[in-house]
């Protein structure tokens, strides 16, 4: 796979939230607004990049049996580093991200990429993977946050798009609203992927859902069977 491909796969094909379904806890918890989504996404991107680099560098040194604890230590170190550095030199950024930073330790995306990718690939590829996954994570969180923020209060980036929208759709601010919105996102994602696969002729529906085996309605390609 080319370097570009390592980057772009995180955006769509192997999107950490929508395809791998990793890091759902921060996804559901903090995407009440597009700004929060962006903050969480960028903070995760920093940590993901740092941990992927180090894990890739030490992948041949650390014994296989203790690799997971080592990765956790590395990730926790980076999270604390990011926390301290932003507190010292980027006060504004720290005020905006401060709450999200400790949450990154428990984000499965970071550990998942360290174990599934960085521990098996070279430094350059791991960097590209971390950037792609991080950007994909950020964009997904922003999209989810944007939908929730708009539906709950008619605003985006804390800017009231529709003046005098006083009716608050509170459900969307709560975690159940995040589940519902994410459900629609996943359905949309699957629908687009299935359509694309069908166009390429690669799509094969599961037997129980395949219209070719069912006479109830007239969807599906029956010519294949004939």
């Amino acid at each position: 796979m080319s370097m570009i491909k390592e980057f772009t796969k995180g955006l769509w094909q192997e999107n950490p939230v929508l395809v791998l379904l990793l890091g759902l806890c921060p996804t559901l918890a903090v995407t009440t607004g597009i700004r929060n989504g962006m903050g969480m996404g960028l903070a995760t991107l920093f940590v993901l990049l740092g941990s992927n680099v180090v894990v890739s560098l030490i992948r041949n040194i650390v014994p296989k049996k203790v690799r997971i604890p080592c990765y956790i230590v590395i990730i926790a170190t980076f999270v604390t580093l990011v926390d301290m550095l932003t507190a010292a030199y980027f006060r504004q950024l720290h005020l905006a991200l401060g709450i999200f930073i400790p949450l990154i330790v428990v984000n499965c995306t970071v550990l998942g990429r360290a174990e599934a990718f960085a521990s098996r690939h070279t430094l350059m590829r791991s960097v590209m993977d971390a950037l792609g996954m991080g950007v994909g994570f950020t964009l997904t969180l922003m999209a989810l946050g944007g939908v929730r923020e708009f539906l709950s209060g008619g605003a985006l980036f804390d800017v009231q798009l529709i003046p005098n929208w006083k009716y608050e759709f509170m459900l969307m601010t709560f975690p159940p609203g995040a589940f519902i919105a994410l459900g629609f996102f996943l359905a949309g994602m699957n629908w687009i992927s299935a359509r694309k696969a069908a166009k390429d002729g690669k799509y094969k529906a599961p037997a129980e859902m395949d219209c070719a085996h069912c006479r109830l309605c007239f969807f599906g390609d029956r010519d294949d069977e004939a």
Partner: protein, 235 residues
Amino acid sequence: MKDILILTLSLAGVCAIASGVLALANERTKDARAQAAIEAKSTALKKVLPEHTNTPLQDTVVVQNKDLDTTFYRARRDNRIVALAGQGATANGYGGLLKVLVGFDPDGTIRKVLVTEHAETPGLGTQATDRRTEKTLGDILGSPETDKHDDKALPPNSYLDQYEQYNLLNKTTYKVKADDGTIDAVSGATISSRAVADAVTHVAKAFETHRQTIVTAPAGETVTTKEKTTANTTF
């Protein structure tokens, strides 16, 4: 046996390097972080206090009690106290520690309540803690001359603003309505609302008990409350 030794040593090695890096980073950023925290505090004090000529950050009286300490900052003009700010803390926030800064007149009337430190859930608990400027598209697209937002003024927060009708001396216990109090909690953020009320209660109790000392004591004085302040910690 040899295997175990290698595994232990390599994990210990990784941990040692990690703690070394963190210790170094902590040492290097300690001063800068302290500086940033002081700056943040003096900005917050400016926001809750009226115009003054002294440095309230250095003109403090600390009230110690069994719970977290309460610090009072005194704002003076021509050596006369024009207003005070009390920093109260509670550990009962949804994300643990929560600190409020209550600006009030010497007679106890609350001027402004500001949450200076918290770890509440973004979007939910922060509705009870953060003051955010409400912006509309018109504000962004409109010409700068018509911009009515005043950078110095605190943006409103309907939850925090309701404290301004109270007086710290007349009312020392603040409770949300769910706990038979008078404060309207933010729906969906009862715990955060409760924590803010709890922290304000600490300030009020400390000010009521030690009013004389707080107003007259020299800067840097520390007074101790013997009995435990009974705040509304019932859940």
